[in-house]
Symmetry: C2
Subunit: 347 residues, 2 copies
Amino acid sequence: MATRGNGRPRRPSITDVARRAGVSVGTVSNVLNRPEQVTPATRERVQAAIEELNFVRNASARQLRAGTIRTVGAIVLDIANPFFTEVARGIEDRLAPDEYTLMLSSSDEDPEREARYLRLYEEHGVQGVLVTPSQGSLEAILALRERGIGVVLLDATSDVEDVSSVGVDDVRGAALAVEHLLELGHERIAFINGPDSIRQCVDRRAGVVSALLAAGRDPADVLTEVTVGSLNADAGEKAMNELLGVDAARRPTATFCVNDFTALGALRALRWADVRVPDEMALVGYDDVVIAPMLTVPLTSVHQPTHTLGWTAADLLLREASAEGAVEHQRVLFQPELVVRTSTAGG
Amino acid sequence: MATRGNGRPRRPSITDVARRAGVSVGTVSNVLNRPEQVTPATRERVQAAIEELNFVRNASARQLRAGTIRTVGAIVLDIANPFFTEVARGIEDRLAPDEYTLMLSSSDEDPEREARYLRLYEEHGVQGVLVTPSQGSLEAILALRERGIGVVLLDATSDVEDVSSVGVDDVRGAALAVEHLLELGHERIAFINGPDSIRQCVDRRAGVVSALLAAGRDPADVLTEVTVGSLNADAGEKAMNELLGVDAARRPTATFCVNDFTALGALRALRWADVRVPDEMALVGYDDVVIAPMLTVPLTSVHQPTHTLGWTAADLLLREASAEGAVEHQRVLFQPELVVRTSTAGG
DNA sequence: CAGTGGTCATGAATCGTTTCAAGGACGAAA
DNA sequence: TTTCGTCCTTGAAACGATTCATGACCACTG
């Protein structure tokens, strides 16, 4: 068998198939791409040759000539983060039926890493990219479009007009949580929030405040905000202990946590302080992580349509790719949903 | 600017760069691949042209000629599963410094889906694939190697001799959990396990039994096994309630759950029945999911080196790819680790 | 029987890169 | 001045598929 220098067998090419079937390469190509234009007899002969040789198309050669490739690149902040994991799954589910492949990487919010992957994807000639932009990388991303590469921003509510993006309305999500607590009659509400350097924290605070105002409350009266440095359980526990320092008659009767991890910590603090949930303290989280319903006290949380988010992003991209001429850019903002469980409406 | 029929600008090629810099294409290629062989003056001229034109290499043409491509394909059972997510991150972290790209898909344990992705990857000419094989797909995977594609099995303790694989020792992991409980003095241990159709369940049972035997105990005396149909919290809760049906004097004093989700359910049942953890019932999970330490009662669990698993799999693959001639196949089995927390050793 | 139309198969050109034998320029040595 | 040798650069041939103008062949029609 022919080799390619490194001793590995060369994979059979369309030429080998043609020779074996006694036809020309053009015919083999026709069998592969326009089978109806080939006589059944010939077609079968070619098919047989293909199977005997274990012929597999060479995507590179194909793309080189045809100019297109059924591949999409995605760059998320961190594949190991459940949020992006579910988004990725949504992307995949949109791509699979169209036989597209997905190239996936994590930027870790490092613009340099992101740029490197973008270039790699561009070299590969992907049809488009789905990106969660890091700080200040938007410009480079948009430049891709001038070189014929589709772009859809993931989980970014961009100010830029002419680029498609998908995101979830964090302001609304937080408002939902607070509205729920108000409806339950809570008049002193705590908000355990993270630093302003995280967009989500800023948006969610805005949602909290707007919900209070919309209900005719003065945030200064109702709201106690505790800011933590990082969004994990330990921080949440510490924050809740701080809240519990106030005597029971004057402390908040409900707490909204900026994410489920901090809520878990808060829950732990409540348990150790023997404060009953939700009777003495109602609790709402955000993200609706997979274990939220599995907890000893199932956690009320704001659910984000992550799968749909990814699916839609991929859908927009494929649509733009197949659109003739000018493309209409869409900016989709999904609405989160409050999932009420025992931690607020316990029975 | 030149177009390619669909109205999008054609990306500049090496020829365009050559023309602009007033050199031949060969020289441009040399600048890109063997810069030391080019006079600094020429090199700079070419570099300038590259930047002015925003030239980006065409990976397809490159691969077509050079025969190689820095891409690896991975097929896991489900990207949305945290286990595989962390594995994927490990793979990525191994590939990134070598400028490899990762193509990632989920097979959902469907051999047909898996086969489709394998073919897609093969068409793309990936250097190798990392696969968690579905039922009965091993043969097709191994056939790839005859066509020059590297293969490393992920999370599979394969019986096949001559293929590299990485996995985690589930037998040992379960044994660790049981040894721990025995050391704490527990003499009646429950094991909430899943169906035998799942390999992990079978392996972990074997580990439980072997640990008991090794300690000179008769499993028939010590062990109470409850089998659940699916590995989620509700099933775990039900199983634990069943165990609690026995009067306190004779029921198990410790429970080992086949994964953390069932353990969460068990924990919930214990809380509602007002059984103190770990005093009246110790609890061990498996997987060490991210929230295990965040729980009200932090959960003792068996931790698997998922990131390392992925990293090592990718490492084996790259090594095999760069190895000259015959490759030595390695089968790496990682050892899990018990992380002791309050749910067994509570203060 | 010539003419027409339609169906299939052909083979050369093409995509953008890498590679390599061959040639050019230039300086050093004789 | 001639002759080498060295160092850069060149240009054409590949890689494997797709595409398309061309032509072969056959069946009808008039």
